[in-house]
Amino acid sequence: MSLLAALAGGFAGTLVLTTVLRAATELHLTRMDLPFLLGTALTRERTAAKALGYAAHFLVGLTFAVGYHALFAVVGRHDWWLGALFGLVHGLFAGTVLINVLLPLVHPRMGNPMDDATSVALLEAPGFLGRNYGPQTATVTLVAHVLYGIVVAAFLGQTR
């Protein structure tokens, strides 16, 4: 169970997560676009935001993989189902706190519930479990994060 394997898992997991979210968008299940949300924190140019956002998203994915690696080490095992469980908790935390509360507060172009007529928002906030972006958003993001957790665990190999 090496850090390098965790980073490789984080990269592959983010690839899977991003692909699932993008496919869900094409299927009109959600308007969730994590790279776009991250990228528009850096620029208001939509195309540049997407490019920057993908880079930022993969960095975040690698960072979380390091966190997973630490948790697996503490627990002493890294089964696929434990990865799935971490992914589920990760997805719930992201939907209820990270993108619901924290992101609107720090994102310079995203509206938040405290905004009033003195401010102008360019991006709507995702809302609780991202439901502002479509009723299926919660399901899609949870599935994507569970897959991410499984992939990270899988890259760390079988628990001996």
């Binding site: 009109h28 509206g111 009033d116 007529a117 102008v120 928002a121 709507e124 906030a125 809302g127």
Partner: protein
């Protein structure tokens, strides 16, 4: 000046103020309606489309309200403080004069409540006995409301929503019968402050008087700064600026969406069932909204609105819903709530079933928006251009279908003329944007061919020789004021004979003095309605665009006089009585005023 009384129930109002008596105040998140007798009879909290905490306008017994008024007969005058959405109501009584200033405050820098509504009473002359009563009824009057005390402050709660009533110099608050109230008397120079402090999913914040004063000053200054940066300098400037301020109340700051109105179920016919929830964003208003924002110099709001439009429509792309929620959601399930309705006008609806209709004009609105946005220097990148191209492709296949039309008829779909014209606008604008390299070139030829076919259909099937006008729908002999939007959006030649005779026919057939009805013929709903305010402004603009600016200006002068005492319009007006009907403040009415004023100004000397 309006004669008033201290007890609404004892007079002819029968518990309900006329809709014309209401003035909106707001903060970019929610809007309250203040009647000229001192009652706040509508407030959805914490957001514009949330459930109500005050809804006496929809049920005077169970809806809840917040009233601050003299306890003796009075005469009342009102105005907004210059350049603001802060309302000042002056009560003149036999014993003295008092002023009540109402504002929903902006948050400022200090820790403050999530939402705050201040009612500030100033003694002007003599002494005026005043009473106040706050009767919160959460969840459209359906949720159990608990009243109690926190640190000596009256607090009402229901679930995750709470409301504190903070008072300074307003007598000793008393809890009684589900309300909190008190009384006091003004003296010359006296000051009393009553603040409703709201919290949603968070603890209440109890502000000090100094903090309330600071936020009030900040709010007035912020509104004035915003108004001072509006660029319009043409005729009817005060009315245009008031309309801009009313429109700003409907801009939902957390997302940039613009609500059609601040209320639900204010009736189009008193006692009837034409009662709808307008607290959502209609795509049909999109081009008008963007155009008005751009013309008024509100570039940040215009950009935010265009971004919101692109985000909200993504879930249903390339199809468009007629309306979306302010947070961008597409689910708007319609249901009835158990309120008595304004003067018995039931049902009271929440949500809007029109979201499921097919309305083809929305596609024209979206492409027109993109065209206006690009024309103002806004950036349309490759991805957005690709999406807009897919919308135009869809219009190529949809324009031949019948739809529910701009008026959202609940009868069988028809080939509405206005819808066809807006499909032509969609395809024409797509072609023009492609010419500028902003949309993919590949399908440009197809868009142009379909636009030509659409125009041929309109000219062949939607123009009535006997009416000498574009009719309501293909093969129909009914008139519809919405076809004027085709002219305003650029369909056909504005100086052409067909448009000139159409404008005349609509004025003749749907007009009643300055008033204009929407259409003749059925719509699948029982009952009647008043004249539609925005149709009158569309007619004024159409007169200007067809080379008759003097007639347009004369009509405009009549129309600006139809607003209420503080310059606000509802959706409709009863031509017989002048009474307001429908939801208010109605964004489309104010948008149409702005558009007409700017168009008439551009048309030249009147």
């Amino acid at each position: 000046m309006t004669a008033g009384a201290h007890d609404r129930g004892a007079e002819a109002r029968s518990g309900y103020a006329p809709l014309r008596a209401y003035a909106p105040i707001g903060d970019g998140r929610c809007v309250a309606l203040v009647a000229d007798d001192g009652a706040i009879d509508w407030l959805a909290w914490p957001d514009l489309d949330s459930a109500s905490v005050f809804a006496a306008v929809l049920d005077h017994a169970a809806g809840g309200s917040c009233r601050v008024a003299p306890t003796v007969p009075f005469a009342v005058t009102r105005r907004y403080l210059t350049g603001t959405n802060v309302l000042e109501t002056t009560y003149a009584t036999e014993t003295g004069t008092a002023r009540v200033v109402d504002a929903m405050t902006f948050r400022g820098r200090r820790l403050g409540p999530g939402r705050e509504l201040q009612r500030r009473v100033h003694g002007v002359t003599g002494s005026v006995p005043m009473a106040w009563r706050v009767q919160p009824r959460f969840g459209y009057g359906q949720d159990a409301t608990r009243l109690g005390w926190r640190s000596g402050i009256p607090v009402a709660t229901a679930g995750s929503v709470a409301l504190a009533v903070r008072t300074f110099g307003a007598g000793t608050p008393q809890l009684e019968a589900g309300a909190v109230g008190g009384s006091f008397a003004t003296a010359a120079g006296s000051r009393t402050t009553l603040a409703l402090c709201g919290a949603h999913q968070e603890p209440l914040v109890f502000p000090t008087l100094a903090e309330l004063d600071e936020r009030f000053a900040h709010t007035v200054a912020s509104w004035r700064t915003w108004t001072a940066t509006r660029t319009y300098d043409g005729p009817w400037r005060p009315e245009v600026l008031r309309s801009a301020l009313a429109l700003k109340l409907l801009v939902y700051a957390p997302s940039g969406a613009v609500a059609a109105a601040a209320t639900t179920s204010l009736p189009e016919q008193v006692g009837g069932g034409r009662n709808w929830d307008y607290r959502y964003c209609w795509i049909r208003d999109a081009a008008f909204t963007l155009n008005a924002l751009l013309r008024l110099g509100c570039a940040p709001e215009a950009e935010a609105y265009f971004w919101w439009l692109l985000q909200a429509t993504q879930l249903t792309h390339p199809r468009l819903q007629p309306l979306y929620r302010l947070d961008g959601g597409s689910s708007l399930r319609e249901r009835n709530v158990a309120l008595a309705g304004y003067r018995g006008s039931r049902p009271v609806r929440v949500g809007n079933a029109a979201a499921a209709q097919q309305q083809l004009d929305t596609y024209g609105e979206l492409l027109q928006c993109a065209w206006l946005y690009a024309g103002s220097g806004g950036r349309i990148d490759a991805e957005v251009g690709h999406r807009l191209g897919e919308v135009a492709d869809l219009v190529c296949t949809l324009w031949r279908q019948p739809d529910a039309g701009i008026w959202e008829v609940r009868s069988e779909p028809l080939h509405f003329t206005h819808s066809k014209m807006m499909c032509w606008v969609a395809l024409e604008r797509a072609g023009q944007l492609a010419d500028r390299g902003l949309l993919p070139h590949g399908h440009r030829g197809r868009w142009r061919r379909e636009a030509d076919a659409c125009r041929d259909y309109i000219e062949t099937h939607c123009y009535s020789g006997s009416l000498a006008a574009y009719a309501r729908s293909a093969g129909s002999e009914d008139l519809d004021a919405s076809v004027l939007l085709g002219l305003l959006s650029g369909y056909g030649s504005s100086g052409g004979n067909r448009w000139v005779t159409t404008v005349d026919a609509i004025r003749r057939g749907l007009g009643n003095g300055p008033y204009v009805y929407r259409y003749t013929g059925g719509d699948g709903l029982p009952g009647t309605e008043g004249a539609f305010v925005s149709c009158s402004f569309w007619l004024a603009e159409a007169l200007a665009r067809t080379g008759r600016p003097a007639q347009a200006a004369a009509l405009m002068d009549e129309l600006v006089a139809l607003a209420n005492d503080v310059g606000i319009y509802a959706e409709e007006i009863d031509p017989r009585t002048g009474a307001f009907l429908g939801n208010l403040p109605q964004g489309l009415s104010h948008l149409a005023l702005i558009s007409a004023a700017t168009a008439i100004a551009e048309a030249g000397p009147q």
